[in-house]
Amino acid sequence: MSTQPTFSAASLEKTEKLERAVVRFAGDSGDGIQLTGSQFTAATAAAGNDLATLPDFPAEIRAPAGTLPGVSGFQIQFASDDVFTPGDRPDVLVAMNPAALRANLHDLRPGGIVIVNSDSFKAADLKKAGYAADPLADGSLDGYQVIKVELTRLTRAALAELGLATQAADRCKNFFALGMMYFLYHRPLAVTARWIEQKFAGKPELIAANRRALDAGFAYCEATEVFRSTYEVPAAKLEPGTYRNISGNQALALGFVAASRQSGLRLFQGSYPITPASDLLHELALYKNFGVVTFQAEDEIAAIGAAIGASFAGALGITSTSGPGMALKSEFLTLAIMTELPLVVVDVQRAGPSTGMPTKTEQADLLQALYGRFAEAPCIVLAARSPADCFDTAYEACRLSVRHMTPVILLSDGFIANGSEPWKLPAADALPPFEFAFCTAAGAGFEPYRRDPRTLARPWALPGTPGLEHRIGGLEKSDGSGNVSYDPANHERMVRLRAEKVERVAAELSPAVPEGDPDGPLLVVGWGSTYGAITSAVRRARKAGRRVGHLHLRHLSPFPPGLRELLGRYERVLVPEVNLGQLAFVLQGRFAREVVPLNKVQGLPFTAAEVLDRIVELAPEIER
């Protein structure tokens, strides 16, 4: 990884140039670890690297301090090259206490750097973390570069003149550690300095305290030569454009706002707080100046019901939730299917069943999205593959829903919802147009179920339009008139029409085209947040002389055209999923094509290495 060592002018440490680095911050959930991580991310984005992040935190807001369940982590991979995942194994681990060390050390690469707050390794701290002996003294860290820093004492000393209470001063020690990391990786301090001033505006003592802690951490490294060398990760050669760093939930919110603006429809979000989807509600609530209505409902059911009512009245109705909320919404979802109204339902998946592990990621709601409703109740299902892709997926979900007058389920998950990456900003005026029109014709004999012959969409006639008064509802409708009907033949026709309407969406989708090799021994098929791990693994495999294709599906219902033929061009199909094989099951059922599942359900995303290992087993090395 390292190249020519050079000596920096500023200090006596060697500076090594790296292509990529992986850093993990870990500490108590009250230590500000997520904040520290996001600041490091902002500084890294400012340094021009490509990056991907993985926040990993407990569901408890403040689990007992110093214990294993209370450990919060934040990992980032950044590089001068493309980054697709937050990295398999950290090069550097910052552990704010023994519990953080114990919970994370096993991931650190051999020879990696571990920075610990030695002030927090007293007997009581060790006991809380379940250590029988002090790991800083018993040789168990041999094989790593251990940097022991008295973070607590040094931070207090740096802040001594400010006269802050000890507790307040101690809250700044994460910024001392951050200052050290900025030194180690040559990151600019300015981004965080600016953030401190904005965050603590009007509280000069807190601005001074955080700023001093940050600077003190940086200066401490400069003065003590605590690191053997420092690292430079040059800026990545990203496609030209303007970038910002964005999380999946932020990107979803912007995608919906963009859809509202481009369609001219008011955005109405019905939602009920649930991890890890709540941030979508928080984000959209900030866009009131776009006319966005955010309705925090009394429960998941009311949230989708209000969104359906809003759509009926002419808004762009959306609702957002996670698995347990999806289950609660399913009856209303069938009403939207029956009444053929636009609606986008976002499911930010988390580990289940039941409450499961709310802050941990999983992809196990696919079958629920496709089939988890009573009766024949088809709808469009899309999945976002990365934080930035959430923008495009949200936008497309709205376009399809409005054009085809049918609900769309958008699958995200905890990994991409909270993770972030650089996003090349789209030009607002280059976004694809919305194709729909409200029905305004007041001619006699208006029929609410008279369909567009091409899309089979029914007319969208808004209350308030003279002459189009009509009744819709959950009872079966007579084709055309929309009157209640118990006619057997009509029911079958309507069931088939609703299915056909969704299937016809496929005609407007781009055909399935793989990345990598277009045929050969192995195709890897993924959906959703496995994109990064699969892409990294396939690229590495191809570099090592293996012939592999990679197809990543955004459209899960309907599938894109040409999928059957594509699967037929490869000898074997590998399907990695963070579940027990749900897409694999669907592909086998739909195409009678045997596939090889690769499954992991630990509340964590795949590492690239895990996917690569399986690819290596399945795809022989060949001469290229």
């Binding site: 970038y243 100046n289 006319g291 309705f295 009926f312 009245a313 109705g317 789209p426 008064e469």
Partner: protein
Amino acid sequence: MSEAVPTLTKKDFATDQEVRWCPGCGDYAILSATQQVFPLLGVPREKFVIVSGIGCASRFPYYMNVYGFHTIHGRAPAVATGVKVTNPELSVWIVSGDGDALSIGGNHIIHLMRRNVDVKLLLFDNRIYGLTKGQASPTSERGKRTKSTPFGSVDRPFDPVALALGAGATFIARSIDVHTTHLKDTLTAAHAHHGTAFVQIYQNCNIFNDGAFDAFREKAVREDGTVALRHGEPLVFGAAADRGIRLNAAHQPEVVRLGDGVSEKDLVVHDEGGSLGYLAMLAEMAPPRLPVPIGVLRRVELPTFEDGVHAQIAGVIGDKGPGNLAKALRAGQTWDVT
């Protein structure tokens, strides 16, 4: 509504759909009263929306020639809220039953009323599940024998008016299906109220719970069995208007006969903005000891939910200016790659 509205009649509000309630059902009377009232409200027909849940009452939208949405069991308030917030110019009515509103939909109606969404909630209360053929409902009296409670119901019933009070409803009224004039007046008052209007309508189910309201529903007993509330007026009732409600020494309501030293000055005077204690007392009044209060029990003005939503949006637009998508995309820290 300042725009000129063509004169409409009851017929304009009927649909071509065959009404499918059981012959003799109280729902017919309520449908007829509503079709008579709607043309008189000064609202163009296309601006009415009726939202319902599931149950006999919830078939109502199919028979009203306005915009209608027959939703799912108990959830009409959620859909109605989305409609009203999206287009506050619409006159939004919810039609629900005692099972739909108070059992499966209990959570939604309390939040509808606490938010004070400007919709009219008509609760057809027949104290029984009709469409599922006769099970005890949340308003069925204790001990009631039904198909689901062959040895008598052990549930204690809700009082819908007390529930509405607890949820902070700004308009609470009660009427009776076949008491046409009173019902029409009550619907008109509900329409005039700016905020959630909760209207409990005693409605006879002649198939599964016939006679539930015999003590005060029929013409012969109506005047003696009910006391019609009028704001600022004493609680006088009876066919000869010769009886009234007075508070006794224990502050409990009692029936007194006017004359013999008892005058209207001794009676309780109705106050639509009265204390919760007073209103709860009204809610509890029931035969055989006391007449049932009908009419508007509570009417107070409070800000509505949709007004708050739109005022907030307007305020933020005033502060920040209307949203600019290109700017929103570039928000936060950006960098250029060339």
